[in-house]
């Protein structure tokens, strides 16, 4: 899967940067893997930059979307 930075994903053929492309590991289906570069990487980055951890009181203002759901799952780990 790849992160397409120019919004060119909705196409028959797309050019991806090698530096933003990763092989999908065995056991992860391709459709699920497509949610990682944008949605899950955002949630992972947010949890990282905020250093959210045990004991913190956290508010996620938009919790029901894709990123919000991913944040919820990551915070529960």
């Amino acid at each position: 899967v790849a992160f397409t930075v120019d919004g060119t994903g909705l196409a028959d053929v797309a050019v991806a940067r090698a530096g933003l492309s990763v092989p999908v590991p065995a056991g992860l289906d391709l459709a699920t893997a497509t949610t990682i570069p944008l949605t899950w990487a955002t949630a992972f980055g947010l949890v990282g930059v905020s250093h959210a951890g045990a004991g913190d009181t956290v508010l996620v203002t938009a919790a029901s979307g894709g990123v919000g759901s991913a944040i919820g799952q990551l915070l529960a780990r």
Partner: protein
């Protein structure tokens, strides 16, 4: 962890970690009341506009707000003066995966690789909705109206 919702109907799609509070009048005050604290340690904020402005007033001493979107389409509020940040030990952080990918690709790549590593360590990523080309228009409308949870994949 408090999770903000656009409507009470979205409770059904909320991750288990969240205690729900519906956005709207008095949102941050109600969220604080639900959490039972005078201020939040961390706010992850993507609504923007008036919601971002109000969460800046709802931080605990030493609190941090991370702004990663402005979905409401309202103008961003002016940031607090630096002396006010010092007085309360506050941090305001901006985050955009798209701008990281554009300007610092290795940093975006490391986030993607970090998530992949978690999947090898037991993180379960829910399968997205997968639709065919004929359903793509309806899927776009559902996304824009907040009726779908997360990403929808169009399989050609």
């Amino acid at each position: 962890v408090i999770g903000g919702l656009r409507s009470p109907a979205q409770v059904a799609t909320l991750a288990a970690a969240y205690t729900p509070v519906t956005q709207g009048e008095g949102f941050v005050a109600r969220a604080l009341q639900t959490a039972g604290v005078p201020g939040f340690d961390i706010v992850l904020e993507s609504v923007g506009g008036s919601v971002l402005a109000s969460v800046l007033g709802g931080l605990a001493v030493g609190g941090q707000v991370v702004s990663y979107g402005a979905a409401a389409g309202e103008p961003d509020p002016a940031p607090p003066p630096v002396p006010d940040l010092r007085a309360q030990n506050l941090t305001i952080t901006g985050f955009s995966i798209l701008n990281r990918a554009r300007k610092a690709p290795p940093k975006a790549l490391s986030l993607i690789q970090g998530v992949l590593a978690l999947t090898q360590d037991g993180l379960h990523i829910p399968a997205p909705a997968v639709v065919g080309w004929a359903e793509a228009i309806d899927a776009h409308i559902a996304q824009s109206e907040g009726r779908s949870r997360g990403k929808t994949v169009v399989r050609l």
